[in-house]
Amino acid sequence: MPPRTLYDKLIDSHTVARLDDRAGPGAEILLYVDRTVLNEYTSPQAFSGLREAGRRVWRPEAALGVVDHVNPTAPDRGAAMPDEGGARQVRYFGENCRDFGIELLDVLHPLQGIEHVVAPELGFVLPGMVVAAGDSHTTTYGALGALGFGIGTSDIEHYLATQTLRYRRMRTMRVTLDGALPAGVTAKDAVMALIRRIGASGATGYAVEFAGSGVAALSVEARMTICNMAVEGGARGVVMAPDAAVFDYLADKPRAPKGDAREAAIRHWSGLRSDADAVFDREIRIDAAEIEPLVTWGISPDQAAPVGARVPDPDAEPDADRRRDLARALAYMGLTPGTALESVRIQRAFIGSCTNARLSDLREAASVLRGRRVAQGVRGMVVPGSSSVRRAAEAEGLDRVFTEAGFEWRQSGCSLCLAMNDDVLAPGERCASSTNRNFEGRQGAGGRTHLMSPAMVAAAAVAGHLTDVRRLAREI
C-alpha cells in the first residue's frame, strides 16, 4: 500500500462504500461517523425531519446532547432561558433527546458546558474516531487524534438516521510548528499566526494535520485551541497524531476505556500517524520562535497583527477589492489607519468560548490578573468552558483571583462568543475577547471584537486598552 496520511487512514477505516468511481480528493464515499454532539439550536429541524419521516436514531448512545448556545450564564441562573425562542429550543431539545433515547446534559446538569469542552473532558471523543457535529468548531477533536468536522442540520439528520454521511474526500495540508513558543506567546497566537498567513480561506477544501515539535510540546488543551480555531482558516477537518500526552489526558476521563481495554486501545491508537513518506497536497511550516502575541483589528480572523503594530492603511493596499474590504473593516471597527493598536481602548473583556475557556486558559488569565485590578470603565467577564471547569477552577481559588480583579465569575455556555443568549455587546462597544470570530455583529449588532489569547484579554482589561501581556509580565 502506498504511504498514507493520518487523514487518509481515518477516512479509509471509516469508508462503508464508495459512491462514485473517483479516488482521492473529491471522491464521494459513505463515511461511518462514530459519534456526534448535539446542541439546542442546530438540531431541532433535524429531529423534526426524523419525526416527519417516521425514522429512528440509528445509534442513540453515540450522540450526546448539550445545552450551550442559548442558555444564560448569570452566576445565580435557574432553568429559565433569557427569551421565549431559546426556551422553546431547549424544551424541544429535551423532548427530542427523551423521545429518541439520547443522553442530555441540560442547563442545570452538573456536567453542562460548551459541547466542545464537555465532550473531551468526559472521554466521549477518543483517538481514531470520526466525529461530525452541528457546529463548525467540531474541529477541536483533532487534538485527541480524532477527525472532527462541522456539519449543517440536514447532515445531522442524515447522521442520526444512518450513522453515516455522504462525504467528499478533502485534499490534505500539513502545518508543521517547529520549536517552542516564546514566553507570553500561546497556542492561540500560533493558530492566529497561521490564519493570518494563509488567510480566512487558506485551508478551504483541505483537511489539516498539525505536526512538529511545537505541537508535541503543547498540552492537550492547548492543542484543542489550535484545532478549534483552524476552521477560521477554512479547515474542514483537523487531525493531530495522538501521543503519550493524549493517552495520559484520557487516563482519568470517565468514559475513556480503562484497564485491559485501555491497553488494547493504546496499542491501536499508537499506530494513528501519517506514514513517514506520506505526501500532503500542501505543506506549511511555522517557526514558533517568530510568533508574537497577536490581536485582530478587523472583521475577519485573518485581519490580525502583532500587538505592537499599527492599524493598516487601506490606501497602501494595491488591490482594489482588498482596499475596499479593508476600508469597510476599519469603518466598522471605528479605527483610523496608522493608530497604534496598543492605544485602542476597550470597554469589555471576555474570557470564554470553546477556543479558550478550559482550566489551563483560566490559569493563564488568572496569572496575569493576580494582584491587579480591571481598569476603570472596563467590564470583565469569565465564562468557564464547562461546569466542571468552573468547579475545578474554584477548587484552586481562581474564581477569587478573577472576582478580586473585578471580573464577573459566571456559569458556563457559549455566551458572548456569539451572543445568542443575553450576553451581548452594545452597539459601538469594543471587546478584548478570547473567542474565535470577529465578524460584524457577532457579539452584538455594532459590537467591535478584538480576538486574542486569554492572557492578552486579561492584560487588556487591566490596562484599559490593547496591550502586550509581556509588558505586564515584566512589571511583576
Binding site: 471509516h14 462503508v16 462504500a17 462514485d20 473529491g26 464521494e28 459513505l30 461511518y32 439550536y41 442546530t42 431541532p44 429541524q45 423534526s48 425531519g49 425514522r55 440509528w58 448512545e61 442559548v70 427569551d83 425562542g85 422553546r88 477518543l126 474516531m129 452541528g134 457546529d135 463548525s136 462541522g150 456539519i151 449543517g152 442540520t153 440536514s154 447532515d155 438516521a161 444512518t162 450513522q163 453515516t164 455522504r166 480566512a200 480561506s201 478551504t204 477554512g234 476505556p257 481495554a261 485501555r262 488494547a264 486501545a265 491501536h268 475577519s300 482588498r322 475596499r324 474590504d325 469597510r328 456569539l418 451572543a419 445568542m420 465578524f439 460584524e440 455583529g441 457577532r442 449588532a445
Partner: protein
C-alpha cells in the same frame, strides 16, 4: 429539497470577501425550531436599518433587483458557523444559485443538501459577472444546470463544472437519507466489523 434545472432571473453583486454566516443570517433569527420566517433574516442588517426600514442603498433594495435569483459574490462566501439557517433564508428570499470563486466548506454542503446551486468560476469570469450584475438593465442571467452553462442576455456564455453526483442530486431533488437507508445492511455489517476491531467503542 428544491430541484434545479434551468432558472432565469436577475443577479445581484456582493463583491466583498469573506461574507460570513453571521452576516447572511444574524443570531436573532436562529431561535426557531422550524425553518419559518428566515427570508426576513437573510442579510438582515444589510437590508434593514435598526428601525426596520429598508436601507435604500443596499443592492437587493434597489430598483432592478426586486426579483433577484442569483448572487455574484466575493471569495470565501459563507464562512463561519455551520448554521444551515443561512441557506434556508437565502432560498426563502428567492436566491437559487450563487456564483463566486470559492465557498466555505460547511456552507457548500448545506447548499447542496437544500438545492441551492453554488457555481465556482475563475476570478476573471466572476469579475465579468460582477460587472454585469451591477447593471440594473443587464443583470438577467440564465443558469442551466444540465448544460453546465451561465448565459447572459447578450449571448455571452460561461461554462462551469460540478461533480456528476452532486448535479444529479440537484436536478432530481433526491432524498439522500432514503438513498443511504437503502444500504442499511451494508452499514450494519460495516459497523459490526468496525466495533469488533475496536471493542472500546462498542459500549
Amino acid at each position: 429539497m428544491h430541484s434545479f434545472t434551468t432558472v432565469t432571473g436577475a443577479a445581484a453583486p456582493l463583491p466583498a470577501a469573506n461574507v460570513d454566516t453571521d452576516v447572511i443570517m444574524p443570531k436573532q433569527f436562529l431561535k426557531g425550531i422550524d425553518r419559518a420566517g428566515l427570508d426576513r433574516g437573510a442579510f438582515h442588517d444589510l437590508r434593514f436599518a435598526p428601525d426596520g426600514s429598508p436601507r435604500p442603498d443596499f443592492v437587493l433594495n434597489r430598483p432592478g433587483w426586486e426579483e433577484t435569483r442569483f448572487l455574484v459574490v466575493g471569495p470565501n462566501f459563507g464562512c463561519g458557523s455551520s448554521r444551515e439557517h443561512a441557506v434556508w433564508g437565502l432560498l426563502q428570499l428567492g436566491i437559487r444559485a450563487i456564483i463566486g470563486t470559492t465557498f466555505a466548506g460547511i456552507f457548500a454542503d448545506n447548499a447542496a443538501n437544500n438545492g441551492l446551486l453554488l457555481v465556482s468560476l475563475d476570478p476573471g469570469a466572476v469579475s465579468a459577472l460582477l460587472a454585469r450584475a451591477a447593471d440594473p438593465e443587464g443583470n438577467r442571467l440564465t443558469v442551466d444546470l444540465p448544460g453546465e452553462t451561465i448565459l447572459a442576455e447578450d449571448g455571452t456564455r460561461h461554462a462551469f463544472e460540478i461533480p456528476p453526483s452532486r448535479k444529479d442530486a440537484l436536478v432530481r431533488g433526491l432524498d439522500a437519507i432514503g438513498q443511504t437507508l437503502d444500504r442499511a445492511a451494508e452499514i450494519r455489517a460495516f459497523e459490526a466489523r468496525h466495533h469488533a476491531a475496536r471493542p472500546w467503542l462498542a459500549r
